[in-house]
């Protein structure tokens, strides 16, 4: 009897790429729900546009590169990039912002390097950075939390805003983020307690922001439990951020916000569990991951407190993406049977 030949090992694989990506998308659901509850369904519209753009762009790029399309689309990596970008930008951004951003993320952030697995920079963060630098006004115009609005716009009105960007009718709908407000007003020499007693701030973070971060934290912990991501990066990131902010806060409580504020505002939890843990662009060795995560935490704190941008997660991640290969090189673990 004749048999086919294959190579060992012959057991069915234990992990699958598309499962990994789908789990990550699923884990984003609590956080996105919180965002919708806090800032309205605008973020969902952005997500839908991002997914559409992502799938089309990925398909076109793969076609141009002469690669098989269906297999790569089925692994959901483009969809994930689109969603991550969509939840990072203001929910009522004009439609062209997310389309442009997603296209840039995928083409310049991923495909010119060779596609999945070959990009040195986190594609979603690259897109975010490009948008922030190119369209600063649009990117800093965040939506006022729904609980502070006198009249909540309907879904139809929101769609109109997004597709026909003319916000003059809707004053008071946009506002700066808590981080942005803190930074600007500290610059104006106001005291922290005064700043944080304003309406957009809540007990821990900003109104709405704290719930969004809590949602992402829940999702992230679930991913950890499912062993889809590993603990060194989130732990070292959050740990370093807590440590830095604690030190500075204790030394000057009127100028530096407390650690809880840092942890539950901005893109902290999203960054810790979903962005910094992107395996392609992070460090790969266990020690390397601890260093990588910790340095991201430090950089986030530095950019937030001393830098020119309100939230530092995107730039911190991109800077550490640059350093990841070097970190890997110097943190190689010891092999069995060798001294070091």
């Amino acid at each position: 009897m004749k048999f086919a030949l294959t190579t060992a090992p012959h057991l069915t694989p234990m992990k699958h790429l598309d499962e990994l990506m789908r789990s990550v998308i699923l884990a984003l659901v609590p956080g996105i729900t919180a965002l919708v509850m806090a800032f309205g369904p605008g973020v969902l519209i952005q997500c839908v546009m991002a997914i559409l753009t992502a799938v089309i762009t990925e398909g076109v790029a793969l076609r141009l590169r002469g690669r098989p399309i269906l297999i790569r689309l089925k692994d959901y990596s483009a969809v994930l990039t689109g969603i991550l970008l969509a939840i990072s930008i203001p929910p009522l951004s004009p439609w062209w912002l997310i389309v442009f951003g997603t296209t840039i993320s995928l083409i310049i952030g991923k495909h010119i390097y060779g596609g999945l697995g070959y990009n040195p920079f986190n594609p979603a963060m690259l897109g975010y950075a490009v948008l922030l630098i190119a369209f600063p006004k649009n990117m800093t115009a965040w939506v006022t939390p729904s609980e502070l609005l006198s009249s909540i716009p309907s879904l139809q009105e929101l769609i109109e805003i997004i597709f026909n960007p003319n916000l003059s009718h809707y004053d008071g709908l946009t506002t700066a983020t808590p981080l942005d407000t803190t930074r600007t007003q500290l610059g104006m020499q106001r005291l922290l307690d005064d700043i944080h007693s304003q309406k957009i701030f809540a007990i821990i973070g900003g109104k709405g922001w704290q719930w969004a971060n809590a949602g992402f934290l829940v999702g992230g912990l679930w991913l950890l439990k499912q062993r889809m991501i590993s603990w060194p990066i989130p732990m070292s990131f959050l740990g370093a951020l807590t440590f830095c902010s604690l030190m500075f806060h204790l030394s000057a409580p009127t100028v530096y916000p407390n650690p809880l504020f840092h942890l539950f505002t901005g893109g902290t939890m999203l960054g810790a569990f979903f962005i910094a843990t992107d395996p392609v662009t992070a460090a790969t060795t266990p020690k390397g991951r601890l260093i990588y995560g910790a340095l991201i935490g430090v950089l986030v704190f530095v950019i937030r407190s001393l830098g020119g941008y309100p939230d530092g997660v995107a730039f911190a991640v991109l800077l550490m993406n640059l350093a990841a290969p070097t970190i890997d090189h110097y943190s190689q673990p010891r092999t069995y049977g060798h001294q070091k």
Partner: protein
């Protein structure tokens, strides 16, 4: 005026320091010919046009010869040479012969007349025998260079491909899959 003097003295001093340290701290680098020779297969066949591998290595180091003239080394040798010297990879120059699978020579003892012409031709002394006595090839030392074939007056030397055994089997590389 003072400035000119100061600068002149400074630069002369620095130049002297550089020259001195250049001599004193000089590291003995391996001559490039040695490195090139170590990448060649040492068949000593002469197909490249030079009488042996070392002369070819010297010619390469002097840039008198191209790196793609060695058929026994095949493409792999061209690639290693290209990497060593920072040159572009070129396919093997067919004018100097085609790459063949590994082979060894074999003397048909029925036809051998004991003339010793092949013994004199073999560059690695892989043939034993004497005048009017049987000649035979030491298979383990034969490099397959084919230099013994032309001198043989009775054409009793054949080239045999080295058979595939589990000893020289190469586990196949998986196909480089798409993406």
């Amino acid at each position: 005026m003072l400035a000119v003097l100061v600068v002149t003295i400074l630069f002369t001093g620095l130049a002297g320091l550089l020259a001195y340290s250049g001599q004193r701290l000089n590291i003995e680098t391996k001559p490039i010919t040695e490195s090139i020779n170590s990448l060649l297969p040492q068949t000593q066949c002469g197909q490249c046009g030079y009488p042996g591998c070392r002369p070819y290595a010297e010619a390469i180091s002097k840039q008198e010869a191209d790196i793609n003239r060695c058929p026994p080394g095949g493409e792999e040798t061209v690639r290693s040479l290209a990497e060593l010297l920072g040159l572009e990879f070129k396919p093997l120059d067919e004018a100097h012969g085609i790459a063949k699978p590994p082979q060894v020579a074999f003397i048909d003892e029925e036809r051998c007349i004991g003339c010793t012409l092949c013994i004199q031709a073999c560059p690695v002394d892989a043939i034993i025998g004497a005048s009017r006595l049987m000649h035979t090839i030491i298979t383990a030392e034969c490099t397959g260079c084919e230099l013994c074939i032309p001198p043989c007056p009775v054409d009793c030397i054949d080239l045999l491909a080295i058979p595939n055994t589990p000893a020289n089997w190469r586990s196949p590389s998986p196909e480089k899959s798409a993406c």
